[in-house]
């Protein structure tokens, strides 16, 4: 038994033992997963790997073991994940994350929480403009527990209304650095009000970030008839911090051309719906616009820079500069870091629920360049075991952004 396996087994046994305690509530879950990744043959990272595989090696296939432990004791709640990963041709490495650890209580009709907590808002599936605290990654191949934010929160509930007031990242020093606002790390105050009015759930959002300043949003989820649910969400932000591509001079750059820049007056919006039939078939469609994503002109500049490096240096440059050229190409792949690759996106999903089996097929299509991400998945839920498997293929025309992503195909199996 390897050290990693012994470590995970010990953690799970510990979790099971605590679960027997009468005054507390504990549970544990063990997950194993294999991801098989096939690198793309086109795109800047593929070219970088061809020139010098050591500069930016493609993400390797990997096996992962995870133990998630959940517990509640009196006023305290916690979720911790212990993880061991073994990339192909590399050794096991392990780490742990405290996803949540917070105290909660009640005073004067308000529910209060303090600590690290996951707070997920908004109504969409593939994109959530108003997930203004957690800012969770969407469309992951498998659901996962994110790492919560440090916060102080007060909530008030009556029959059909809820108020939530959150001070997020209160421990952050006062700063006005654009970089601290990336990934929701900045200090901010956020407010949500929820109101159910018959077939519709209405949500209002407001946020004041130390650097990004004011933003306002609204969302609605409406059950139109017995089979159809429609939802919409929109947000305007005074400022948004985004990765920006600064076109370098024609030569090789000595630093990354990407910097965090502040963009003013950004809008994000989503509309969508889910239709469910008596035979348990569900169809979902969503369209969204993400004003924080790179514009068509910025992607054109990025494509031009890729072409320039390829023409001047890959196809004709001196061999001594190969490593530098590979580095420049690898930097180009930083463009893929945003929540949405293109500003306009169409997402379609079909799923079926039958006898514990849940097959699904979804496609994310980007009309600006014809790029697409297609995912087929199959899940099976037993009494105590869940099995998932699937395949995601990124593609489209060769000059589309999705086709140039570092990973072309990713197959996975999880237990």
């Amino acid at each position: 038994m390897s050290a990693s396996t012994r470590w995970l087994a010990a953690c799970l046994l510990a979790g099971t033992a605590v679960a027997a305690h009468a005054d507390s509530e504990f549970s544990g879950q063990l997950r194993g997963r294999w991801d098989d990744r096939t690198a793309s043959l086109i795109g800047p990272l593929a070219q970088a790997a061809q020139l010098d595989p050591t500069v930016a090696p493609p993400q390797a296939s990997a096996a992962t073991l995870e133990a998630e432990l959940r517990g509640r004791w009196q006023m305290l709640s916690a979720v911790a994940t212990l993880r061991s990963e073994k990339p192909e041709s590399a050794a096991w490495h392990s780490d742990g994350v405290m996803n949540e650890l917070y105290a909660s209580g009640e005073a004067a009709g308000w529910q209060l929480s303090a600590g690290r907590k996951i707070v997920a808002w908004d109504v969409g599936y593939a994109f959530r403009p108003n997930d203004i605290i957690q800012q969770e990654r969407r469309r992951t191949l498998l659901s996962f527990t994110p790492e919560g934010r440090a916060l102080l929160m007060g909530e008030h509930f009556d029959a059909r209304t809820a108020w939530s007031l959150v001070w997020v990242n209160p421990q952050r020093a006062v700063d006005d650095d654009a970089g601290s606002a990336m990934g929701a790390e900045e200090q901010a105050l956020a407010l949500r009000v929820f109101r159910n009015v018959g077939e519709a759930d209405w949500h209002g959002f407001a946020r004041w970030g130390q650097h990004t300043r004011a933003s306002l949003g609204a969302a609605v989820s409406w059950v139109a008839d017995d089979s159809l649910e429609l939802h919409a969400s929109g947000r305007w932000a005074e400022r948004a911090d985004v990765l920006t591509f600064n076109t370098p001079a024609s030569g090789l750059a000595t630093s990354s051309p990407f910097t965090v820049a502040t963009r003013n007056n950004c809008a994000q919006a989503l509309v969508g719906g889910t239709w469910t039939a008596e035979n348990r078939l569900s169809l979902m469609a969503e369209f969204w616009y993400d004003g924080t994503a790179a514009s068509n002109a910025q992607w054109d500049d990025w494509q031009a820079r890729n072409a320039q490096i390829t023409a001047a240096w890959v196809n004709g440059g001196p061999a001594a500069l190969r490593r530098g050229v590979a580095g420049n190409l690898a930097w180009q792949s930083q463009a893929f870091a945003g929540q949405s690759l293109r500003r306009s996106n169409v997402y379609l999903r079909a799923s079926w629920d039958h006898e514990g089996w849940q097959p699904s097929l979804d496609v994310l299509y980007m009309p600006a360049d014809g790029g697409r991400m297609v995912t087929a998945a199959l899940g099976w839920q037993g009494d105590r075991v869940r099995v998932d498997a699937g395949l995601r293929v990124n593609g489209g025309p060769d000059d589309s952004v999705a086709a140039q992503l570092p990973v072309r195909r990713q197959a996975y199996a999880a237990l």
Binding site: W121, S164, V223, H354
Partner: protein, 243 residues
Amino acid sequence: MKNYLALLSLACAFTAHAQGMNDLLKAADRYRVSSANMQVETQINTFNTDGSPDKERRYTVFAQANHQSLVLMQSPAEKGQKVLMLGDDFWLLMPGSQRPLRITPMQKLLGDASTGDIATLSWADDYNAQFVAEESCGDAPCTHLSLTAARKGVTYQRIELWIGKARREPIKADLYVQSDKLAKQARFVMDKPQAPTAVAEMVLLDQLSNHKETRVRYLARKERSVPEAWLNPMFLARNPSLD
């Protein structure tokens, strides 16, 4: 004047008939729910068409007045899931998520025993009944009623219900979905066959897809009113302790 009297008599007769049907439904309801606010522990066993056991699930149901219900899934496969039903409005809450999902009545229907089968314990408030015929149910005489939904959020649009003539206990039912397809056939097993006081088990036979048999057993019932906040989807999204 004669015409007015005739119309008045007809209206009175119709009202009395409707009231009689409603009283009959209320009497049948009392075999499943004895109070407006209840906590019911339910176990569901599903069997394959060859009779072999398929799966077992446990639920805690808080059935409250004014068509409000909260279902807590208790089995390991579903632990932490909740379904909230407030009249015609439904939400699904998943254990790993902080967002209540607004679901349609059709999504509520999913599952061998749908959430509606588990949470809906009364017919009198949700359906209008029409007398069909006096019939025989095995050896005993029974009353055949045809129930049509009085509001749109109910799980079944039409129910053909047979009630014992002597004790007014539910005997069997045919359950029809929105498209008027026969979805399930239900049979009610009483706690004491000779002097029934409560429905001990509801046996559902799927007629729409897999033809499996599902047994819904009522393990424990007690009167209980839950705090108002428990029926707010955003409160439930906090994953509070609901004991």
